[in-house]
């Protein structure tokens, strides 16, 4: 299929998916994923072959990942982030450890390799903050102690997810290097992260802002400059053995502290959310292969089970340890169940690096869709009591 036809199909699926999601009061991302999966498989069934999109569409999806992470970094208000309580950190950490271990064990049990099991465990770690935010708002819990706990934990989860994903990609890339080369990699990675951290310091961003104020740019040029910085960070991250996404994420955090780039978040939301990011979600939905999924039905069910139990136990235990009552702890555990963020990037990278196959990717996609679907009504029922 040629490029224009491919992009037309993908964008039409994205728009229809968003429309359906809104009608059914579901997160927009879910519609894009599910419709992408359906159309992908209909094409497969009707033609007797895959619905083959122009390869450039997948490059656009890659840029979508970068823009997604750049936007996430831009939206990370460091002042607010520092206010997140220790209890959120406990819930986040336990809510990451439990599903990771359970996912790893389940994968080993089903005979997958060590590195594939690590990838599968990692796919269960992050929480999608947006899925339950609407429910927390509706039940007027978002401003309460429990609401802050859940939102804070989900944000920390996302960051842990990005870091773990980066480590995994680095391990895959540098797995066969010598100790000396690995030491150089760790040193460079630390230097890069430290440098990015330094750029977010108030004094440094103040100095940068003073110099940047002398630069006269139009709005479009500002957007181009923001994208250049993100790509530059990504390129450096990639070249020192980290992943592109950590580069884009760090660039977002750095740029987000600068007054000069005020407005960049909105421009990114338009260009990213209106084109590149939906292409990523739809194409990742299209990787779902119904036949492959059926062949690994047992594993898919086990993955879904450990995804739910891991978060419920980990998040719930974390809340209980930080002195929330039983009812609130269960609520916190359930609120951490949905996955619809980092794990999707992980699926794409896993497939690209050959760590996971279509069967595992399909099982992860079903886990993402199911956890996103079931969590809000259960959470509403628990918290309404």
């Amino acid at each position: 299929m040629d490029f224009i036809a491919s992009i037309l199909i993908v964008l039409a699926i994205a728009l229809a998916g968003r429309f359906l999601s809104e009608k059914l009061k579901q997160p927009g991302i879910l519609g894009e994923l599910v419709l992408g999966a359906i159309i992908g498989n209909i094409g497969f069934m009707m033609k007797g072959g895959e619905l083959i999109l122009d390869p450039v569409v997948y490059n656009i999806a890659d840029i979508g990942i970068l823009f997604l992470l750049l936007s996430a970094g831009l939206s990370l208000n460091l002042t607010e982030f520092k206010k997140i309580g220790k209890s959120s950190a406990v819930v986040a950490i336990l809510g990451v450890i439990f599903p990771f271990i359970l996912g790893y064990i389940a994968a080993i049990w089903f005979g997958f390799s060590h590195i594939t099991a690590l990838f599968i465990g990692s796919a269960l770690m992050a929480t999608s903050v947006g899925v339950n935010a609407e429910i927390l708002l509706e039940l007027r819990i978002i401003g309460t102690r429990l609401g802050s706990l859940i939102m804070g934990a989900a944000i920390i989860d996302d960051i842990i997810g990005v870091v773990i994903l980066t480590i995994l990609v680095s391990v895959v890339k540098t797995g066969y290097l010598s100790v000396w080369e690995i030491s150089v990699f760790i040193l460079l990675a630390l230097l890069f992260i430290l440098l990015a951290g330094l750029l977010t310091k108030e004094k440094v961003s103040g100095i940068l802002d003073r110099h940047l104020a002398k630069v006269k740019l139009g709005r479009e040029s500002l957007l181009i400059m923001g994208i250049i910085v993100a790509l530059l960070f990504s390129l450096v991250a990639e070249n020192i053995g980290l992943s592109l996404i950590i580069g884009a994420f760090l660039a977002g955090i750095v740029l987000g502290q600068l007054s000069f780039f005020r407005g960049l978040k909105d421009y990114m939301s338009l260009i990213g959310g209106g084109f590149f990011i939906p292409v990523f979600f739809v194409t990742i939905g299209m990787t779902f292969d119904f036949n492959a999924f059926l062949s690994l039905g047992g594993f898919a069910s086990a993955l879904l089970l450990v995804a739910i139990v891991g978060k419920l136990v980990g998040g719930g235990l974390g809340a209980k340890l930080t002195k929330f009552d039983n009812h609130e702890s269960i609520g916190a555990g359930v609120a951490m169940i949905p996955r619809a963020g980092i794990e999707l990037i992980l699926v794409k990278l896993g497939l690209e690096y050959g760590i996971i196959n279509t069967e595992i990717a399909s099982a992860i996609l079903i886990m993402v869709i199911m956890t996103t679907l079931i969590s809000p009504p259960i959470l509403a029922k628990i918290l309404r009591r």
Binding site: R18, S21, P27, G28, I29, L68, S71, A72, G73, L74, S75, L76, N77, T79, E80, F81, S128, V129, G130, A133, E134, L137, R140, I142, G143, M151, I155, D158, K216, L217, G218, R219, L222, G252, L258, S259, R262, G263, S269, G273, I277, G341
Partner: protein, 162 residues
């Protein structure tokens, strides 16, 4: 037309201090810990509020505009993709209680010796209608689009441009 040809470059070359509102005592200013009711009370009559650490040293740390209040007054709705940190500020849900929680932290400012042409460019780039005038991080006045328009119009009516 010839007069305007000459006026515009002259206008561009003027300095902020020549046009700014220097009545610092009359500026809409709140301290970061002030309650949201103060914000609503001021914005009922003004378009913006400058937020300072405290009213003694007047160190500017943020700005609240009508748009910020619109965001916390409107029923909260999240965008299609919430990835990262969502904006949960809302009066309805009690997540926006103080000026510090409502304000925009990235303030675009100018200095008293900046040229008017630079101020106009900043206003265009960031879609702003007012800029605080700062001196060592302290607010000493403000320059609004209204003031700029009025001064320019007066000059076209054969008044002095300053």
């Amino acid at each position: 037309m010839a007069r305007e040809d000459r006026l515009v470059p002259e206008f561009y070359e003027l300095r902020v201090e020549q046009l700014m509102d220097k009545r610092a005592w009359d500026l809409p200013i709140l301290e970061k810990k002030d309650d949201v009711s103060h914000i609503l009370s001021i914005l009922g009559a003004r378009n913006h509020i400058w937020v300072v650490n405290n009213k003694e040293d007047k160190e500017l740390i943020g700005v609240i505009t009508e748009h910020d209040v619109l965001l916390i007054l409107t029923p909260k709705k999240f965008p299609s993709y919430v990835f990262g940190m969502p904006d949960i500020r809302s009066i309805q849900h009690g997540t926006a209680k103080t000026a510090e929680e409502v304000m925009h932290r990235k303030v675009i400012s100018c200095k008293s010796d900046d040229k008017i042409v630079d101020v106009l460019n900043k206003m265009t780039l960031y879609k702003l209608r007012r800029l605080p005038v700062l001196e060592d991080k302290k607010i000493i006045g403000e320059l609004t689009l209204h003031q700029l328009i009025r001064k320019y119009y007066d000059a076209t009516q054969y008044h002095s441009i300053i």
